[in-house]
Symmetry: C2
C-alpha cells in the first residue's frame, strides 16, 4: 500500500508533471545561455531528489521479462551480473533450453561459487518429442528453484524460460506464484520467457515486454551467430 | 538482398505457416498418446531444420535496444557476456550515465583484458547542468567508440545510452551511422537508450523495444536497489 504523502509535499503525479515540463535538457532545452540553462536543470534536479526521496522502501522484487523480442534472458543475466558486482550470490535455473551450448554459462564460470547455474531441459519440444520427459525435467527444475527461493542465501533467483514451461502446461501458475510468495522478503526473483501468464503479470513488481520492432535476420538469410543468439 | 529459394523448396513464409499450424507442443498439442505426439513434433523439427538451413550468412549486426522499459543496458551486457563466453573481446563505451557506481562495471573486472570498459559522462543533464561539458564528454566517448569500431580487435562494441546522446543533440545520427557503417564486416554493434532515431531503426538488423507493462515501484515507494537499478 502507498503511504500518504507528507502534508504540503507535492504528490508523485505533480512531480512527474513538473519533471516533464522542465524536460531532459541538452539541446532540447530552449535556453541559449548557460546561466538560464543551469537554472532549469537545477529545478529539474530538485524534483529528481524529491522523487527519489519518496521511495525509501527496500523489498525483494518480482521481475518479469516477456514478449517476442530479443533480450529477455540477456536482461535477466544483466541483472545477475549487477547483483554479483555488489558481492551478492545469484542462482539461475533454466527450465527450457535449446540444445546450443550457452555462451553465458561458460562466461559465468569466472564467478565461481557466487553464481549457481542449473540447466534443466534437453532442448525444444521438437527436439525432445516427449512430453513425459519434458515434464520430469520441468518438475526437477522447479524443485531446484524452490530450494533457492526458500534458502535466503541468494539475493537474486533467475527462473529462465519458466513462462514457457507454464505455457506448455508443464508447470501450474498457482504453483509458481505460491513458491515465489514464500521467499524471504529481500530476495529478488526474475522470470523470463514468452507468454507470461496474466496472474503473474498482475503480481509482479516490474514487467518488461520485449517487442520485436525490426528483425530482418531471416529475410537476409543471416545465420544464428555466437554471442548473439547462443 | 535475399537469395532466391532453391527450386521446389518451401518459402520462408510457408515454413512459418507450417510451424504455426504444428504449434509449440507440450500440453498445447491435441494428441493424447506419445506416438502421435512424437509424429507432430518430428514434423515440426523438420521444419525447424529447413528454417535454420535457409540462414547461412555470417555478418556483423547492428542491434538496437530502445523504449521506456527496463532492460536495455542489461540486455546489451548479456550479449557482452555471451560474446566473452565465446572467447571474443568486447568493448563498452558509456555515453551518458547517472552518478551511481555501476554494479556491472565492478563485476566485469573479472574478465580482464577481454573486456574494455569506458565510462564517459558525469551524470544526468540535471546533475551536470552544463551543456558544453556534456558535449565534450559525448565527443570524447564517440572518438573512443570509433577506435573500437574501426580496429577489428573487438567482436562486439556496445554504445551504451548513445541513443540518449543523439536525442539530447550532442551527437548527430548521420555521424553514428557513418561510424558504424565503416566497421569490419563481422563486428557486431549494440546501441542502447530511449528514443532511438528512426534512421537508426531503419538501418538496424534487430531492434527490440522494451515496453513498460507494469511498474508499481513508485506507487509502492520502493527505492532504487543494488543489483536492480544500479
Amino acid at each position: 500500500m502507498t503511504n500518504p504523502p507528507a502534508p504540503h509535499s507535492p504528490s508523485s503525479t505533480e512531480l512527474d508533471h513538473s519533471a516533464e515540463v522542465l524536460g531532459i535538457g541538452g539541446h532540447l532545452a530552449p535556453e541559449t545561455d548557460q546561466q538560464s540553462y543551469r537554472k532549469r536543470m537545477q529545478r529539474r534536479q530538485d524534483i529528481q531528489r524529491q522523487r527519489v526521496g519518496e521511495r525509501d522502501k527496500e523489498k525483494g522484487l518480482i521481475l518479469v521479462f516477456t514478449g517476442h523480442g530479443k533480450g529477455k534472458t540477456t536482461a535477466a543475466l544483466g541483472l545477475a551480473l549487477r547483483t554479483l558486482g555488489h558481492g551478492e550470490h545469484v542462482a539461475v535455473v533454466q527450465f527450457i533450453k535449446g540444445s546450443w551450448q550457452p555462451g553465458e554459462a561458460k562466461a559465468l564460470k569466472v564467478f565461481g561459487d557466487a553464481l549457481s547455474w542449473h540447466a534443466f531441459g534437453e532442448g525444444f519440444t521438437w527436439t525432445t518429442q516427449d512430453r513425459e520427459r519434458d515434464q520430469q525435467l520441468v518438475s526437477k527444475a522447479w524443485q531446484q528453484a524452490l530450494i533457492y527461493l526458500h534458502s535466503n542465501t541468494h539475493k537474486l533467483v533467475v527462473l529462465d524460460e519458466v513462462n514457457v514451461a507454464m505455457k506448455l502446461g508443464y508447470l501450474k501458475v498457482e504453483e509458481v506464484l505460491g513458491g515465489i510468495t514464500e521467499r524471504p522478503p529481500l530476495t529478488h526473483v526474475a522470470l523470463t520467457g514468452r507468454g507470461a501468464p496474466k496472474e503473474l503479470i498482475e503480481r509482479a513488481d516490474l514487467v518488461t515486454e520485449m517487442t520485436l520492432v525490426h528483425h530482418p535476420f531471416k529475410e537476409q538469410g543471416v545465420k544464428a551467430q555466437a554471442g548473439i543468439e547462443f
